[in-house]
Symmetry: D2
Subunit: 295 residues, 4 copies
């Protein structure tokens, strides 16, 4: 029997104290399986290894048939961006602390990867958002986001006025620090800090969360993931806004620009070990243990 | 051309100062259309009218082919409960102030009803929740709710411990005053006061909102409306809980009871005037106007 | 040199697994110091001991010159209620997990008590609230609370309407599940679960926190602790409310009753080991550690 | 009898549609009283008037004995900054919509000013915050704020790590978008949008409100106004933060800078018409009317 995947790309959070240990175990395991291994330059700088290829993120995204992310959810986000065009499946290994996207612990790495390589996994798809910035009827910039798109006031001491249209219909005009549009994946990230609800990963929905809105009744609203969102700004003055897609920033968005946000055509594929339990991760990450020493 | 509906049931918020005016206009209009009219006893007590039938809510639910609710969202809820078994469509007339479910104003009543009677309407379906209370493996009580099911501590000064299972999988165990499970319809009612998000009415989802949880990270979670929810209590002491379905209360639920909640098979049908706009109602009800005199 | 305190009352959370160990160490230590020891009946039932006195909470409150509470914040609350009339100082020993009021760990018990007995301690006073229920111009019930007074809807499916007057001036009329009035001590208890802010223990202030208010802008408000608060109900129907003082409940408050709340004349005295740090306790209890594995 | 004030400075929100009307009435009234009037250049540009002096904000702050602010709370903030050094009392006239600081309506302007000029007023003092930025043991910048000091991440896609010390003692280290330190005056402004409580204006307290904190239990904390706050940053990388004092921004604060915040020595003095009621303003501004058409 042959492994399902032949060329394995690896991304890693190379500034983590435990990374060398975990990478050594991972590379040894993959070499024993006789797989072709492609690593990033950062990994090549921090670990001595033969029989590996060094490549840029773009190359990894085009030549591999599986990408392994070693680190936290942030590293996984970078891996997701690299993999999305080619629809390469992703596996997430954490560094001792579970993340929402990285659910294999270092100590079970070989066992779980063995299973995944030979087809024993749960395949999960997660959708991304596509954001387009339109200036004078032209798309001047296009990005995508697995977690969230954030529209944020920038270099202005006062709130910005944001009008949101859903499928061409006005939702509202709000004054606030900005607006988050998050996927279910992103609902447990920045959106949660801003007061948004948790969306189950399988939900075909996205959530709009205002940032510190002037009107208290501007509450998070959950809409279908098929909706087309358009953002316009109310100010006429030439102040600026800033758009973030996951952690990539697009500054100097003008008050006259329109922002279009919708579900991206191609989802990413995540391979989980069998028995993966989202609620378990949620309980771990959010410290949902019942404190038994209550008064 | 004949009207689509022949027998019209009417429910009304009879203790509202403006009710007699609106009912008079409504009854005159329906009589001119030569329709059979069935009213509740309460309405019969407050208004002089001939050529109408007086019936109980149950009868109205079985003999009419359209139910008109005159009042606020509360009256509409009662109408929904009366109509759900027979799947009779509902129309909501407000008393001067728009509600999420009652979108026809008294002054446009005749015009809008005329259109609806002759087939010019938007049909919307809204799902209900079904709740079953299981004691010693037996369903001892069953109810349904259009807005929300609330599990609440009752006659106990301390928080209750609630374990929630979704499709048989543990979500979490929380200490709190209780838990709301709301439909999209209910997401703009009690759930919103308790910190829940707004769910768009067409979303196939429900939201679980903890009431004053001991652990702050116990945040609202939105799940698919096909999920089966089971609630168990952590305490062994014989204190009680209370279940509310919309505004109907089921007291003296025991700590050993299990509560099962899922989507109810039969949705209700709401007829809106054409051009109905949920976001407009949202902006009106939540005072989402931008204050233009900000500093 | 003589110890400052001669007769020591002890209260304990007797259903905690670790309680026998801690009580044995505590009693041995106090007996070695030749102090007179008074314990509750519950303690007498769970531990074999000579040379101790058994007494009711009321007696303990009248004959001791120091009370030691062993358990969580709930046990300490009971001790506070027992001590307040006679102004006896309190010491709080936890059972392995720090509480806001119980800051001595079992393993440092002898050392810290030794210091406290001989005058090395930080004295902290905490004020209580006094609540009076007025029916037909007569005070029919009077209680006090160290943490909070809660006015709560009771056996009614709908919200109650509460009008709050501060020093005779209307603050507001709100529809909600109820209202919490918390001291700084109580600001880290139920009030925090309901969305209230943390008040530093030394602040001469109290906080009013609405419970799931119908109007979202009904936000917590912090006022001077010298203010006199009066609560009236808006309903004319004979439904009931319920008042909780810490964990003691006063049911069947009528809609026609007035509730008066103000600072209680006599504060309680807490003796802390020297170097006591409220912020440290806050960080511990609220898990305020920075997560270093952020993306 | 002579008026208490002789030289009246005027600031105005000159881009408001109603401003010319109100200024004309105001200037006529003051001229009839034979008072010396000093206006800003902006006012001089928008209204034709004789027998007035035009001066800069700084001059107005040094030569007047009363300052009248015509506009919203934002204009009043500017007036407060101009008046604070010379301790000149302030009167706030709104433009038809009440503000927390501007409580005289245009239509009652002459009557109320007449009373105030002849000593019939309620004097209220409000404290300000002083903020100092310390770099290499030197104070490189100093500002003050009537509403709030905000520390905010700037040109960085990720949260900043902020350590807060109160009177030299560590409160906590948090990851967030930033931190608001608000006075009671500011507690009804930006702080409220960010989830902070309302502080009664007379309270000797300030509130620390985290902006979208990574840890949900990082809740607003209210401390005594005599406390000295020091902020340090956790990052070692040379990213920047931004400090806002009311609406004045201090950009490019370094991660190695320390920020010191404390109560400013000199409060501002506000003159209110007699019978001024803070709770009335609160109810008006926050729409705290009870909706009587609840279900």
């Amino acid at each position: 029997m042959e492994p399902q995947f032949k060329t394995i790309g690896i991304l890693a959070k190379t500034n983590h104290p435990n990374i060398n240990n975990v990478l050594t175990i991972l590379l040894n395991f993959l070499q024993q399986q006789q797989l072709k291994i492609v690593i990033t330059e950062k990994i090549a700088e921090c670990i001595q290894t033969n029989s590996t290829h060094v490549a840029s993120l773009e190359e990894i995204g085009s030549i591999c048939d599986l990408i392994i992310s070693v680190g936290g959810d942030g590293t996984f986000l970078a891996a997701a961006h690299a993999s999305v065009q080619a629809q390469i499946p992703l596996v997430g290994i954490n560094l001792g602390q579970v993340g929402f996207l990285v659910d294999i612990y270092p100590q079970e790495l070989c066992e779980k990867l063995q299973e995944i390589l030979f087809g024993k996994y749960n395949l999960e798809t997660r959708f991304l958002l596509q954001v387009q910035i339109v200036r004078n009827q032209q798309i001047i910039k296009q990005e995508h986001a697995l977690n969230e798109v954030v529209i944020h006031r920038w270099i202005t001491p006062s709130m910005i006025e944001i009008s949101t249209y859903i499928n061409g219909q006005l939702l509202n005009t709000q004054r606030s620090d900005g607006l988050i549009i998050a996927t279910p994946t992103g609902s447990t990230a920045y959106s949660l800090s801003a007061g948004g609800p948790i969306l189950h990963p399988t939900l075909n929905a996205m959530v709009l969360v205002p940032l510190n809105p002037h009107t208290f009744s501007n509450r998070p609203i959950v809409i279908d993931s098929s909706a087309q969102i358009e953002i316009r700004f109310g100010q006429t003055r030439q102040i600026n806004a800033l758009i973030s897609c996951d952690h990539l920033e697009i500054p100097q968005v003008l008050m006259s620009d329109h922002i279009l946000i919708k579900k991206y055509d191609t989802p990413i594929k995540i391979l989980h070990p069998q028995g993966h339990d989202f609620f378990y991760t949620l309980r771990k990450k959010l410290n949902w243990s019942v404190n038994n020493n209550l008064p």
